[in-house]
Structure formats: structure tokens, C-alpha cells
């Protein structure tokens, strides 16, 4: 292609770029990066902290006493232990993936590593959402039998002969709440990462298309 030869000639002339001084390079290398990896790291740490805080805040003493009262304390101890172990492994995997992000890799590998890091956080969020889901179900069952107001409503419904209908309504209400929470989270993350990773995804797809 003739035109490309022309471009190449001009390219090799090494034309006059405004030269950056040593002092400026020194100054620049100490500036804060605004790369997406930096953002991904910051957001992920906030996410880890958020869910951890939620776990700690929800674990108040009154709740513990209540669990003891319901006879669930033994089970909750194990659930919590497993939960913390899972949390620690997530943080470990996230950190390990983050460390493997290297600008000296091939473009394809670099993109893969970034997406892998994000996936780890994504799994962490899904894990937490499923814990929320299980918690809600547990709360639903426990409330049904131990909350005096609800259980008297159940008793009344049983006496009036529409126990099944009451249970159906009760379950529907809880499911609606859970679905609402999950959809909200999903939208939030879709938006957050959609904006952040739009360019990366587009370029990743393009690169994969070439290599099909």
C-alpha cells in the first residue's frame, strides 16, 4: 500500500515531539496513576470492607442471645467460622490475582489477568448475596414459629382454614424482598463496572475476534 509507505517515511523521520526533561520524568513517575487497575483495586477493597462491616454489624449480642433462645447458636458458630474462612480465602485470591497484573505481559494476558481479578470480587459478592438469601430464608422460618405476632396470625389462619394461603402469602413477601435486593445489587454492579471496564471489554473482544 503506497500510502502506508509514505506514512512510514514520515514516521521514521522521528519528527519533532516536544521533549520531556529528566526533571519532568522524575516528577511524572511519582504522580498517582489513574489507570483502571487502580480503580478496580480501590473499589474492590471498599467492597470487601462493606461486606465485612455488614457481617460484624449484624452480629450484635442481642441477636446472639436470640439465637441461643432459638437453639441455633451451635449452628451459627460453625456458619460464622466457615464464613470467615471463605472471606479470608477470597481476600487471598484477590490479592494474588492483583499481584499477577503486569504491564509487561502480552496485551491478551494482561486483559485476562485484570478480568480474573474482577471475577474474584464478583464471586465474593455473589457469595455474600447467597448468604443474605440463606439468612432471609432462615429468618423467615424462625420468625414464623418464634415471633408471637406472626405465629398467632398463623394460628388464626389455620383456625379459619386458610393456612396454606397464609403461608403462600408470607413466602411470596419474603421472596419479593430478596429478589428486590439482588436486582438492586446487580444493577449497581452492572453500572459501576460497566463504566469502568467498557473500553477494556471492547478491546478484549476485538482481540479475541482476531484470534478466532
Amino acid at each position: 500500500m503506497e500510502e502506508l509507505d509514505l506514512l512510514k517515511r514520515d514516521w521514521n523521520k522521528g519528527n519533532s515531539f516536544e521533549q520531556v526533561s529528566e526533571k519532568d520524568i522524575y516528577r511524572m513517575s511519582h504522580k498517582k496513576s489513574s489507570s483502571i487497575v487502580k480503580w478496580l483495586l480501590a473499589i474492590s477493597i471498599i467492597e470487601f470492607a462493606f461486606w465485612m462491616l455488614l457481617t460484624i454489624l449484624l452480629n450484635d449480642e442481642k441477636y446472639e442471645v436470640k439465637l441461643q433462645h432459638y437453639g441455633l447458636d451451635q449452628m451459627m458458630f460453625w456458619v460464622n467460622t466457615i464464613n470467615y474462612a471463605v472471606l479470608v480465602s477470597f481476600i487471598f485470591f484477590f490479592y494474588r490475582n492483583y499481584r499477577t497484573i503486569s504491564t509487561t505481559d502480552s496485551t491478551h494476558q494482561l486483559m485476562k489477568n485484570i478480568l480474573k481479578t474482577r471475577k474474584t470480587v464478583q464471586y465474593y459478592i455473589w457469595y455474600n448475596l447467597s448468604i443474605v438469601f440463606i439468612n432471609v430464608i432462615l429468618t423467615m422460618v424462625v420468625t414464623l414459629y418464634h415471633n408471637s405476632a406472626i405465629s398467632s396470625m398463623l394460628l388464626q389462619a389455620t383456625n379459619e382454614g386458610h393456612r396454606t394461603f397464609f403461608l403462600f402469602k408470607y413466602t411470596c413477601m419474603w421472596i419479593l424482598i430478596v429478589v428486590l435486593i439482588i436486582v438492586l445489587f446487580w444493577l449497581f454492579y452492572k453500572l459501576l463496572y460497566g463504566i469502568l471496564l467498557k473500553k477494556l471489554f471492547a478491546n478484549y473482544k476485538e482481540l479475541k475476534k482476531i484470534d478466532l
Binding site: 500510502e3 526533561s21 511524572m28 489507570s35 483502571i36 504491564t103 473500553k199 476485538e206
Partner: protein, 164 residues
């Protein structure tokens, strides 16, 4: 940080800065965006420098990091600028009658390259830098054959942009 290492880095980058400027030229339009990307590349280079072992030339190592920064990490969107530059290019092309001065044609060529996507720009960059297909495939992480095929497609695409 090791001051000696830093001195070495600054010196090497100063000597090899043109290759970074060339990448900034392909990926940005406007002086501010150019400087912005140059700075982000410098940050990434400095961060990766301790791992630079010198088994390749500094310039080779640097252009890889620079390309990866431009394609993958750089966050500032240049989309709005891109549209305006696209319009002017179209305007130029419509008047084109193959009797342009060389300089004018070179400007058109740069504009055409600017319209390519980020991956295509990387391929053109390496083509202009006379990199062989083995190096191109290693840099992008695609197969050599596919790099060749894609390069031919880009040439066709450029031709189409220049002669719509």
C-alpha cells in the same frame, strides 16, 4: 525507592521518549490528552521498571508497557474528540483528488489511522516500527498467522477510509 535505579530509569526514558510520544500520537488527539497518556505510561513504566531485567532493549520493553497502558489501562475517554476529528477527515476526503501536497496527505493518513480501533492502532504502530510478526504476536498475545491476516485487513480498511 533506590535512587540509583530511578536515575537510570529517568535517563533511559528520556533517551527513548520518542517511542512513547509516537504511541501517544496514535492514541490521543490534542496536546492535553497526549501529555496525560504520556504521564500514565511513565507511571506504569516506573512501576514495572524493577522487573525490567535487560534481556530485551529498553525501547522494546517500554513500547510494550506503553501499548498495554494505552489499550488496557488508560481510562480517559477520547470518544468525543474522536468524533470531531472523524468529521473533519470526511470533509477532507470528499475534496480529495489525488493532487495533494505530500504533507497534506500525511495528515490525512494520520487521521485515518486515528479512526482505527485500539487494537488496530497497535498493529499499525508495530508495522510502522518494522516489528516482525513474531514480535507482534508476542506483544498482543495472538497467533502469528492471525496477526498477519489482521494486518492485511487493516490495510484494506485504511484504503477504504482514505478512498470512500
Amino acid at each position: 525507592m533506590d535512587p540509583e535505579l530511578e536515575q537510570l530509569f529517568v535517563k533511559q526514558l528520556k533517551e527513548n521518549q520518542n517511542i512513547i510520544h509516537k504511541i501517544c500520537r496514535l492514541y490521543t488527539s490534542g496536546e492535553d490528552a497526549h501529555k496525560d497518556l504520556f504521564q500514565e505510561i511513565t507511571i506504569q513504566l516506573w512501576k514495572a521498571f524493577p522487573k525490567f531485567r535487560g534481556d530485551s532493549k529498553f525501547s522494546t520493553w517500554a513500547y510494550r508497557v506503553a501499548l498495554n497502558t494505552a489499550i488496557t489501562l488508560y481510562r480517559k475517554s477520547t470518544r468525543s474528540v474522536q468524533t470531531s476529528s472523524f468529521d473533519t477527515t470526511n470533509h477532507f476526503i470528499r475534496q480529495e483528488e489525488y493532487n495533494y501536497e505530500e504533507e497534506e496527505q500525511i495528515k490525512l493518513l494520520y487521521n485515518a489511522v486515528y479512526q482505527l480501533n485500539d487494537i488496530e492502532k497497535a498493529l499499525i504502530f508495530m508495522y510502522l516500527e518494522d516489528k516482525d510478526y513474531q514480535e507482534i504476536s508476542e506483544t498482543l498475545g495472538i497467533s502469528e498467522v492471525n496477526a498477519r491476516v489482521k494486518m492485511n485487513r487493516i490495510k484494506t480498511k485504511l484504503k477504504k477510509i482514505l478512498n470512500p
